[in-house]
């Protein structure tokens, strides 16, 4: 698997980007040059060191409260990754379970779950996220919950389709004829067969959740105001964007990079797990 990843240029690039972001998040307290919360009001609104109006102490400059942009960016990766991972997992668990039940049992349960999914899909993603955020309030846990509530549909629909085809294969009936219970059939004999599909959806969903978290933070409905996030940094830099455009560039670039990295890796995974393609 690792060999195939190295041979795929785009997959490798995606993986490297993600490794870089994960590295930032894990070592944030070690590599940050400053405390991201500390305000140095005398040195507020500084530009990066390669432009005019900078201070050598602050490599990427400071924001309107005099906080170090580089440190805030590094700490911001923690929120992004935390929300992206746990949001993907929460959505995955909900979606996979509902998809399995829906596909396996069929009938009324299937109809109900799939109609709810259809209704949810007919709403724009961000509208739904905003609605839930407004009801639940801000908070890291709530953002994860929102991600779960918004993204389970894609899992459920894909998993249902796969379960529908796999449950017709004879070995499922054979397991049943030999005394396997429904739960056993679903979780021991069907689920492992669709693991690759689930992994691929997860990577694609993760990119969406990164954007969702950034959007919510940008709109002020994401994580609490004191935690540095890329979305909020983008929102705060908006006020001074004409005079200090650099402050909007950095968080924007990081968001783009993360989404790009996840998507590139996801594409490679999809090809890798597709038995019809020889990677």
């Amino acid at each position: 698997m690792l060999k195939s990843l190295i041979h795929s240029k785009t997959g490798l690039l995606g993986a490297l980007i993600l490794v870089f972001i994960v590295f930032l998040a894990l070592t944030a307290n070690l590599i940050s040059p400053h405390n991201p919360f500390e305000q140095d009001i005398v040195h507020k609104l500084l530009n990066p060191v390669w432009t005019a109006g900078h201070d050598a102490k602050y490599f990427l400059g400071t924001d309107q409260l005099g906080r170090d942009v580089l440190s805030r960016l590094i700490y911001g990766s923690r929120v992004t990754l935390m929300v992206a991972f746990s949001g993907t997992v929460v959505a995955g668990i909900v979606g996979v379970i509902l998809g399995c039940i829906s596909g396996y049992y069929g009938g009324r349960i299937d109809a109900i779950v799939m109609r709810i999914a259809d209704i949810q899909l007919s709403f724009p993603f961000i509208l739904l996220a905003l609605f839930i955020a407004a009801v639940l309030g801000s908070g890291l846990g709530n953002v994860v919950l929102i991600a779960g509530l918004c993204c389970w549909v894609q899992y459920a629909r894909m998993v249902r389709g796969e379960v529908l085809s796999i449950k017709e294969i004879e070995y499922v009936e054979a397991v049943r004829a030999l005394g396997g219970s429904n739960m056993r059939i679903i979780f021991v004999h069907i689920l492992p067969n669709i693991a690759s599909t689930i992994i691929v959806i997860a990577t694609l969903q993760m990119a969406r959740i990164v954007l969702m978290e950034a959007s919510l933070s940008f709109l002020g409905l994401g994580v609490p105001i004191e935690i540095p996030t890329w979305g909020r940094m983008l929102a705060e830099s908006r006020v001074n964007i004409v005079s200090y455009p650099w402050h909007a560039v950095f968080p924007g670039v990081l968001i783009t990079l993360t989404v790009l990295g996840v998507n590139l890796l996801g594409d490679w995974m999809r090809d890798y797990f597709d038995p019809n393609l020889d990677v």
Binding site: E170, E173, A177, N193
Partner: protein
């Protein structure tokens, strides 16, 4: 063969309620099975062979299937059990092997893993004990070097091998009944003979009653004690195998036997039974075979003939009911 009664199917009726209407897949089927008996269930596609057997294992989705009647497995009334109680019956007291050995095993697990799963589902055994039981059973079904096969995945085995594994899996808990649903259709003739020899050996050794579903009359002639011929959801004739082949009574059985190719008549057109099976949604009021029967009478269209005893079996046909006039013969044999 006058052994213990293991299965008593009494007036089994299976209907499917669908949007198109009610399909009568099985009508008034009654038969018994004794310990060590080999029953052949023959008939053309859609005549209810598989539905009958799946009813015995309660494998049909209910709804749409509706099961009525009585199925008695040595004292246990199958149709009154809950799905949960069925888990303990399936694979333990009744087992089934299927038509397609190539897709009857989960490709993701090793042979040993899947076999051990069955045994630990039904018996409290340690991993090591389960392994020993599995290897012993693999040896029993004629798999060479079972210790190596134990660790292999299904794709590493041939079709005949996999069918042997399936049989081992079905026999692990020493069931009273083994249902073989066209077990050799997907295999070539040499392997077919080996698999049937294996089934016969198991039948002798463990006294497992076997229900063999097939449309191959040759298989039935060689490998069963009793044969039930099904047509459009009913057993139209049931008799010991020799009697059925020597003196087929029902016009449908006679037609079936005529349409078996023989070595003598090569090059000639094979005799066929004209017409098609009536729709299960709309069965004729009388005998279901009346639309194709060569000896049809007026009353065939009106009323279903009763089961009439003929020698050691019974037949459902007005040709015989006239002479004997007795009913309910299917319960005697």
């Amino acid at each position: 063969m006058e052994d213990k009664l293991v299965l008593n199917v009494d007036n089994l009726n299976v209907t499917f309620n669908t949007k198109r209407g009610t399909a009568k897949a099985v009508t008034d089927v009654s038969f018994t099975l004794h310990k060590g008996e080999k029953l052949g269930l023959v008939g053309e596609s859609g005549c209810g062979k598989s539905v009958t057997c799946k009813s015995i294992m309660r494998l049909l989705p209910e709804p749409p299937a509706v099961l009525k009647g009585k199925i008695d497995l040595s004292g246990t009334s199958i149709l009154d059990l809950t799905e949960k109680e069925m888990y303990a019956i399936r694979g333990n007291r009744i087992s089934m092997i299927f038509q397609e050995p190539m897709v009857s095993l989960n490709p993701l697990y090793t042979i040993g893993n899947q076999l051990s799963e069955v045994i630990t589902l039904h018996k409290k055994l340690s991993k090591e004990e389960a392994r020993e039981a599995v290897i012993a059973m693999l040896k029993e079904v004629g798999i060479p070097s079972p210790e190596i096969r134990f660790k292999q995945y299904p794709f590493e085995l041939s079709g005949g091998m996999r069918q042997r594994v399936m049989i081992a899996m079905a026999l692990l808990c020493q069931p009273e009944i083994l249902i073989a649903d066209e077990p050799t259709t997907a295999l070539d003739v040499t392997i077919q003979a080996q698999i049937l020899d294996l089934l016969n050996g198991i039948n002798k050794k463990f006294g497992t009653a076997i229900i063999l579903i097939t449309h191959d009359l040759g298989l039935v002639a060689e490998n069963t004690d009793t044969v039930a011929v099904m047509y459009a959801g009913r057993i139209v004739e049931k008799a010991p195998v020799k009697q059925l082949f020597k003196h087929p009574q029902h016009p449908y059985t006679q037609g079936l036997l005529r349409s078996v190719p023989t070595m003598q008549d090569t090059g000639k057109d094979l005799p066929t039974i004209e017409g098609t099976v009536p729709s299960l949604y709309n069965l004729p009021k009388g005998c279901p075979f009346c639309t194709r029967c060569t000896k049809v009478q007026d009353k065939c269209h009106e009323t279903m003939p009763p089961a009439t005893a003929v020698a050691e079996g019974f037949v459902r046909c007005w040709l015989f009911a006239d002479e004997h006039g007795e009913e309910g013969a299917e319960h005697v044999f």
